[in-house]
């Protein structure tokens, strides 16, 4: 066990965990932030996507010991009230079916738009293909990303 000082959603947090613990489980089990989802645990589905210094990152294989001083943003911290343009676009297009994958999709889409405010279809596909949606909401996700980009 070791003490880690983390900055999560702008707030300082301290956890005492095994250094190998992935950020995903630190968030879910130790910090009561369950918005970040477990889907595969092997960086294949994108359900656990967070932002590390503003860049999309899969948290299920990211040991907490590698975070250092980098700031973490989770779905709970993307906005206070769901007002982030990507969240708003998701609501407008009523994207979710079961909803389980959507936190990861939204975090990835938000990072994409930050790096590339006006992505082409091909760029959206390239950036989003690591995020599985078992319910098959892909066409709505694409439309919502375009709405968020336009807005």
């Amino acid at each position: 066990m070791a003490i880690f000082n983390l900055t999560i959603n702008g707030k300082k947090q301290q956890v005492d965990v095994d250094p190998s613990t992935p950020v995903l489980w630190v968030l879910r089990d130790h910090l009561n932030l369950a918005g970040t989802k477990y889907g595969c645990g092997i960086a294949q589905c994108g359900a656990c996507t967070i932002h590390l210094e503003g860049v999309a990152m899969r948290s299920c294989m990211l040991p907490v010991s590698l975070v250092g001083n980098q700031s973490i943003t989770t779905i709970e911290g993307l906005s206070e009230d769901g007002s982030h343009p990507v969240q708003q676009a998701w609501l407008e297009h009523d994207v979710a079916q079961c909803g389980y994958c959507q936190a990861g999709q939204i975090m990835n889409a938000a990072a994409l738009l930050k790096a590339n405010p006006n992505p082409s279809d091909a760029e959206i596909e390239a950036a989003m293909s690591g995020n599985i949606c078992r319910c098959g909401t892909y066409t709505r996700i694409r439309a919502a990303i375009k709405t968020a980009a336009a807005g």
């Binding site: 294949q44 906005s79 909803g99 959206i124 319910c135």
Partner: protein, 750 residues
């Protein structure tokens, strides 16, 4: 107005609690999410008045409507309350929706399966709203001393025209709560609907996009422990020995032991399916610690004996289920299926004289189709929370069959049914997997043993390798054409491991003079279960691909060819029990022909068509494929759907799109293969699920407008799209596709 008797489960309309003081939430409120968030509603009422088990009204006019059925992404949590709100005649903006717990006294069929939630809930939901409205009207009539027949309602307000009096529902709610349940109620005419048929967004939308803890896996309780299971690596094996000493010594680990999911001699129900009923269990403080300790378990396995057991089926009949011993293999399966397809099987339906017709045919076409086992792969792996004490079991989580699993849990724990309390969270997908709730019982047994609240969590690997899979299927078709290219005989022989996908009375039965349908099956120890559109998810694609080849051989347009057959079935049907309405079937094909611009081909676009009837709904689809850099790209999918009245067009379109993507994805890419009894795929690096870049670029869904009571929508969209896809691929590549997955071996992109 339609006058109906409120006979449907009258207990639903009785009050479940007596009225108490202000702010009463009846213990349901926190279920809307796993955390109570009443502050999200700006002005909560001081007091709630329960009108019936489905709804309560606050003194300020706010209405809470219970959503009775499990929400697995099919959006019943929005659409079922919409039906109540319609008949209650309230403004949708003033409605709060809450997930109801399992309560068989109030609700009927709290089950997510068979695309039946809306169809079977329709009358009860309408009645719940209509009877509450009537009680409010009677309360107003008494208060104003006027005949109830003169009271009208509009958007949550009661009016009496002659006296000019009016009052909000909230003002009359207290009085209405003590009015006897009416003997009969009036239902609205379809043309008067104001909420049904209008697009309404997901009631949990904001909670989903802000990452609220809605799902079973998100549930937590003070002092809760985490449990994970270890099961044999292959079907056909069972646990022999567990050495948990190393695991138990690891940090954060509380205990390691084995459990039996069901008691010796317990008579299983259909939804108790589980290949591994003896499991090793690791319990600890946190998920990561338990995951690590699991790796330190030393486990030994041994072969299972052949088993034969009576299992109570859905509907109550008992069936003898045989589980053979041995380690099974996909290559052997494929060879056996081909062998079975080549010999006569059990005839289920025969019209005319097919043998003679085939003998006299000008042309005979014969083709075989196959599909592999599939894992459900709900994005949220199986899990359940349990807190079992000496006299009570509290079970919380995602399950599609709470009212069935309640019985399994009661039997296993030795508690009476009323001591089992099941609450449903939002569910990260279902697709049929969560019908089989062994994980609920496992969680309960573990909690009982630990004497503590426990959340059982399956890893993705556990989830994928401990499944109730889509069976492997095979079908052989033969068609006979006469010299004028008319279809004179049709023969299907379909089977699978361990069940046949045959639907003998569906189209083209009834449209062909000489018809033979045969089925076969082979026992297996690989556990299977319902998978979105069971059986149809294979047989539709096979049949619709075959009909495409027959149409081609006959030199006919594939839509015209189907319409010609349907015309025969409509005007002069062959045989009995034809399981479809030919006119509605033809209706979706005609709508699709128009909406997809079928008769105006576009350069570079290769199109395939298919149509199917299942879950009481009719669907026709066209898939458009373009070749880009030598690879097929799905440009667009067009669908025409007749599912009766569409309750929520926005959700209906989304669910339809999902069905299409699901059908295409599995047909193109997915398979669960077995070697020596072990699944070869155990996570998304090896199991190929369709991804963004592989999904159709556009999907357009058109609904037939009619006033028929609503039918299924969660399933009927994915079966036919497999056929439309195969037919489009043929036009794009010149190659027919008979074996799923069509693009086997395409690398997975992680």
């Amino acid at each position: 107005m339609t006058l109906i008797k409120t006979t449907y489960n009258r207990r639903s309309f009785l009050k479940t609690t007596t009225l108490a003081g202000g702010g009463m939430m009846l213990g349901f409120s926190w279920l809307a999410s796993c955390n109570p968030t009443p502050e999200e509603v700006l002005s909560m009422p001081e007091e709630w008045f329960e009108i019936n088990g489905f709804l309560k009204i606050g003194e300020n006019g706010l209405v809470t409507i219970m959503s009775p059925n499990p929400e697995i992404g099919q959006n019943v949590k929005t659409s079922m309350p919409m039906i109540v709100a319609e008949e209650l005649d309230v403004n949708w903006d003033n409605v709060i929706v809450e997930q109801a717990p399992l309560n068989t006294d109030i609700f009927t069929r709290q089950l997510a399966g068979g695309s039946q939630s809306i169809r079977q809930g329709w009358q009860a939901l309408r009645m719940a709203g209509a009877s509450a409205r009537r009680m409010l009207m009677e309360a107003a009539a008494q208060a104003w001393q006027v005949p109830v027949g003169e009271i009208t309602t509009e958007a949550g307000v009661l009016h009496h025209k002659n006296s000019g009096k009016s009052a909000g529902y909230g003002e009359m709610a207290s009085a209405a709560a003590s009015i006897p349940v009416p003997e009969e109620v009036q239902l609205k005419e379809v043309r008067d609907f104001k909420i049904i048929g209008t697009p309404r967004r997901n009631v949990d939308g904001l909670k989903i996009v802000t990452g609220q803890p809605l799902f079973g896996l998100d549930y937590r309780r003070e002092g809760m422990l985490i449990a994970m299971i270890a099961h044999p690596p292959a079907f056909g094996l069972k646990l022999k020995l567990v050495d948990g000493s190393a695991a138990k010594a690891m940090p954060g680990i509380r205990d390691v032991f084995t459990i039996k999911t069901y008691d010796e001699g317990y008579e299983k129900q259909w939804c108790d399916t589980s290949a591994f009923t003896e499991l090793a269990v690791v319990v600890g403080n946190t998920t990561w610690e338990v995951m690590n300790a699991k790796k330190a378990l030393r486990l030994e396995w041994e072969p299972i004996p052949e088993i034969s057991e009576d299992v109570t089926q859905f509907g109550g009949n008992k069936k003898d289920i045989k589980t053979p011993a041995g380690l099974e293999d996909s290559n052997t399966h494929a060879a056996k299926m081909a062998e079975m397809g080549a010999k006569a099987a059990k005839a289920v339906r025969k019209d005319g004289d097919p043998e003679a017709a085939f003998r006299n045919a000008a042309k005979v076409i014969e083709r075989s189709y196959s599909a592999p086992f599939l894992a459900h792969n709900c994005m949220e792996p199986m899990n359940f929370f349990a807190h079992v004490t000496a006299d009570k079991a509290e079970l919380v989580g995602p399950v599609q069959t709470p009212e069935f699993m309640e019985k399994s849990a009661a039997a296993r724990l030795g508690l009476p049914l009323e001591k089992i309390d099941i609450q449903m969270t939002r569910q990260g997908g279902g697709f049929g997997r969560r019908l089989y709730g062994h994980f609920l019982v496992e969680a309960a047994v573990i909690s009982q043993k630990m004497n503590a609240p426990v959340k059982l969590v399956y890893s993705r690997e556990d989830d994928m390798t401990f499944g109730a899979y889509r069976p492997a299927y095979h079908a052989t078709y033969r068609a006979a054409l006469d010299a004028d290219n008319r279809l004179i005989a049709f023969h299907v022989r379909a089977g699978g491991i361990p069940e046949s996908p045959l639907a003998a009375n569906r189209f083209p039965a009834g449209a062909v003079d000489n018809y033979l349908a045969e089925e076969w099956s082979l026992d297996s120890n690989i556990t299977v279960g319902a998978f979105r559109a069971p059986r149809s998810n294979f047989i539709a694609g096979a049949e619709q691909s075959f009909l495409d080849e027959v149409a081609e051989a006959a030199g006919k347009d594939p839509i015209a060819f189907r319409l010609e057959l349907l015309e025969r079935a409509r005007t002069n049907p062959v045989g009995e029990n034809n399981d479809y309405e030919a006119a509605r079937y033809a209706g979706v094909l005609e709508l699709l022909r128009e909406k997809s611009g079928w008769e105006q081909p576009q350069p570079g676009v290769h199109r395939g068509v298919a149509a199917y009837f299942c879950h009481n709904s009719y669907v026709a689809q066209v898939v458009d494929i373009a070749m880009e850099n030598g690879s097929p790209v799905i440009r667009k999918v067009h669908a025409a759907v007749d599912c009766g009245i569409v309750v929520n067009p926005l959700a209906a379109a989304n669910l339809s799109e999902g069905g299409i993507v699901d059908g295409i994805g599995h047909a193109l890419y997915s398979a669960l293969a077995f070697r020596e009894g072990a699944p070869e795929q155990n996570n998304f690096d090896k199991y190929h699920l369709i991804r963004h870049n592989e999904a159709p670029k556009a999907i357009e869904v058109h609904f037939v407008k009619n006033e028929i009571d609503p039918t299924g929508l969660g399933e009927p969209l994915n079966p036919p799209v497999v056929g439309a896809l195969a037919n489009a691929l043929y036009r794009a590549t010149g190659k027919r596709f008979y074996e799923q997955p069509f693009l086997a071996g395409k690398p997975v992109l992680g």
